[in-house]
Symmetry: C2
DNA sequence: GACGAACCGTAACGTACGGTACGGTTGCGG
DNA sequence: CCGCAACCGTACCGTACGTTACGGTTCGTC
């Protein structure tokens, strides 16, 4: 009766509630979360927890996957592609990304995943990485390549261009937050930083400004 | 007889040996490190550990500080300041930084610090942050400002310019490594990435390329 | 209305580990 | 040589928590 691994969507509403409780507890307590605490707050028995999720690691894994399944951001349409719309798309991505990585939920999950990255069987790190940084790359690269096809961007390797964009957007935000720095990202700051990162990226890889080889 | 807090330098050779053992165990075991394991490998008694460091947290704190005290990188002289020497300095910083954050020791310490960032009295996160990201900024900012004074760089806020440089250098490397991504940074790759980041930074903030307002 | 599956609440078990206590040894000052 | 301080090795204690077991309740099905 263990919850299925691959799809991760065969979750009862009750099970989803339990995972939401685990998620909230993870935000509050961090890795100090205990099975007893989850059972109590979710008003379910520990026996049920173990039947559904196997063990503590299984619960954590299911929780991480559950959260990942909730943040499917809408992909951006690449219909019209002029410079203003490309700029808009990039700023959207940047804002979205900054909002995610500065959210309490993301910080908590990343902390747990990092903690378990040392010795892990089901390694949460890979899951978080897959649904965070890597998924972001998969979504943005088509946009970048469309921009290049439209003659708006210039780069050789889309992966490399994405990593530059990633660095310009995230800078030191994620590591500082993970290490406990009280960094307050207001929506105004996010908007400003996203615009700056986009402007800088276009300065490096925009086809109109610079022939081709600025970034590499 | 607890080890002094402020200077952190009043360490017996024997104590330094113990902390080196703790460091190695932290790399191997991560946060699963136990006091018994440290005592065994260091061939000392647990009683001594507790007398010297108070408790487990004290040992971890002392270990982090001990490592921090070992990585005092030489500051770069700002005597001659033409574009080639500035470029060289920036590349040096970038290479150094990439080497540090991709080292097993740094990864292990950052993981432990991130783990304890949730609920921590002596918070390791602040210590790691202080000796990592923040120390890097303090060292590089004078170089940037000297470059601006010499008419080689253009920026309004040195902190902001540094964060841009930080993002261009680190990109997604640190978070990927912390999450367990098997990312191999050869010295060749480090050299290439450092040169690219420096080139990009100069494209954004170099005074010769761009009037003033590219990055903001 | 009886049966069984699923589940809740609680109690119980086992263990790992942080922390302490203690006897034995070494080495140094007087 | 005596005494003492520091320290090693080991045994011990207490507890927290993962995991299991069990009695009681609900609810859908025949």
């Amino acid at each position: 009766m263990q919850v299925a691994e691959a799809p991760g969507e065969e979750l009862t509403a009750r099970q989803q509630d339990v995972l939401d409780v685990a998620l909230r507890l993870l935000v509050e307590e961090g890795d100090a979360l205990t099975m007893t605490a989850v059972a109590q707050r979710a008003s379910c028995s520990k026996e049920t927890l173990y039947k559904w999720f196997g063990d503590r690691d299984g619960l954590l894994t299911a929780t991480v996957k559950w959260q990942a399944s909730k943040v499917r951001v809408a992909a951006i349409d690449r219909a019209k592609l002029d410079l203003p719309s490309l700029t808009e798309s990039l700023e959207q991505y940047a804002s979205n990304w900054l909002e995610v990585i500065s959210s309490e939920t993301s910080i908590a999950l990343n902390r747990v995943a990092v903690s378990h990255a040392s010795s892990d069987k089901k390694n949460l790190g890979a899951i978080v990485l897959e649904n965070g940084r890597l998924e972001m790359g998969r979504r943005l690269k088509p946009v970048l390549e469309a921009g290049r096809d439209a003659g708006l961007l210039a780069f050789d390797d889309a992966e490399d261009a994405f990593r530059t964009f990633f660095g310009l957007v995230a800078r030191d935000v994620q590591i500082r937050l993970l290490l406990g720095d009280r960094l307050k990202l207001t929506s105004a700051a996010i908007a400003r930083d996203s615009a700056q990162a986009t402007r800088q990226f276009l300065a490096l890889h925009g086809a109109q400004n610079r022939p081709a080889s600025a970034g590499h």
